[in-house]
Symmetry: C2
Subunit: 250 residues, 2 copies
């Protein structure tokens, strides 16, 4: 059943009104009719099954039928910081990372990032990223649309890192030396509601200098097993491990 | 450092000889010279750093410098069976699944598979899949190139399943009802060297009938957490969870 994020808060006294792109999607793409059902998610993250009551020329009105009570969100808030990679790899990270429960995406310009961030195209690119994330959140039945920011500098990333309860760097050189306990130790001790930032390099990885500066800021350096993961695969590994440890193993 | 799978067994008395596509890659793509280093992996899964000794017009000769002793492979053999999805999703599963340690890929025609398998294009498609898997195995520094088969029928899949020590089906309806212990219970009890088959539906999922038949054959039905994962994301979740449990948590 299709899921839509509603901009307005729920009110008992009036129907849920859907306009704009979601209206278009319900009426033109899904070709839904009155009495069909959808899921609606409100800004306070509450969600419900709703029945379409009326379809007019520019809006759909629906009424809540049954509130959802199960939790769709990871018990911790995970931010994924990716060194700007080439091509559309970032889009894959955003789409799959949203399905896997990330709360926030922070691209950053790493020493080995080859792509230059084009400020002229920034607005368009950010719009596209936000659309990918919103659609993935709807599709995966989440109650939160993760936030995506424009790329920050490495220095800005270190400043942002101070707001997190836990900070990790995925570093393949560390995996080569057999480091394998920092991720599981962190996930074993993290408490519900805490926040965690995980930093990933671009193709070619982070430089020793970048890793050293993270270490100074108190980041834990973690390996992700003996195989070398691509820059877009590593975040998916970490998010899957988090879900496995914090949702399935409990 | 680049990694190449060698067709011939290692012999102490002669150099490692590389021809064909790998020759082309070393000389034309990577533009390597004599005395440059590569990794070589032999059919018995032993691997070593090797130094290029001579480059001729159609072959590279290299000598083993140092054998690798660390384990790159998951301690269990994982087969991923995917209901034929649309587009290039299968290629994403093969590439990322190889990075994440899968041993075997078995596509199958599921009730809800929309794509028809074109026997005329079968050879070309399988060649392409095998290339994707080989390159991903090289890139991720594995010692095994996973096998990929042409799509089998669901009935054939059930027959194949008898060869595995453990069999699981990922089923989103089961996740909705809160099933969350079968994956972690299986990974908690699986022994090194054992084999496991995990079956995933195409877009739209497996039908109740398919899941019922799996259940009759002794498959465990498992949920993968509260969010709905796309058909190409679910196998990556399971492989990541396996690596996390069997490689990082030990």
């Amino acid at each position: 059943m299709q899921r839509y994020f509603i901009d307005n808060r729920y009110s008992e006294s009036s129907p849920v009104i859907i306009t704009g792109e979601d209206y278009h999607h319900i009426v033109r793409v899904m070709r839904m009719k009155e009495d069909d059902h959808i899921y609606v998610v409100f800004p306070d993250q509450s969600s419900a099954a709703a029945r379409i009551e009326t379809i007019s020329s520019d809006s759909v009105e629906a009424v809540v039928v049954e509130w959802e009570t199960d939790t769709k969100e990871l018990p911790v808030k995970v931010a994924i910081a990716s060194g700007l990679p080439k091509g559309d790899k970032l889009e894959l990270i955003f789409q799959k990372g949203t399905e896997l429960g990330a709360d926030q995406f922070i691209p950053f310009t790493a020493d080995r990032s080859i792509v230059k961030w084009d400020e002229k195209k920034a607005k368009k690119k950010l719009d596209r990223w936000e659309k990918i994330v919103k659609e993935a959140a709807e599709q995966s039945h989440r109650n939160v649309v993760p936030s995506v920011s424009s790329p920050v500098s490495f220095k800005e990333l270190l400043t942002l890192s101070k707001h997190f309860d836990h900070t990790l760097v995925a570093y393949e050189e560390e995996a080569r030396t057999g480091e394998k306990s920092n991720l599981s130790r962190t996930l074993g001790s993290i408490k519900d509601g805490e926040s965690i930032l995980v930093v990933f390099g671009p193709e070619g990885g982070l430089t020793e200098n970048e890793v050293g500066r993270c270490r100074q800021e108190g980041f834990l350096i973690c390996g992700l097993g003996p195989r070398i993961l691509r820059t877009e695969t590593a975040p998916l590994y970490v998010l899957s491990a988090m879900s496995y440890q914090l949702e399935l193993m409990r």
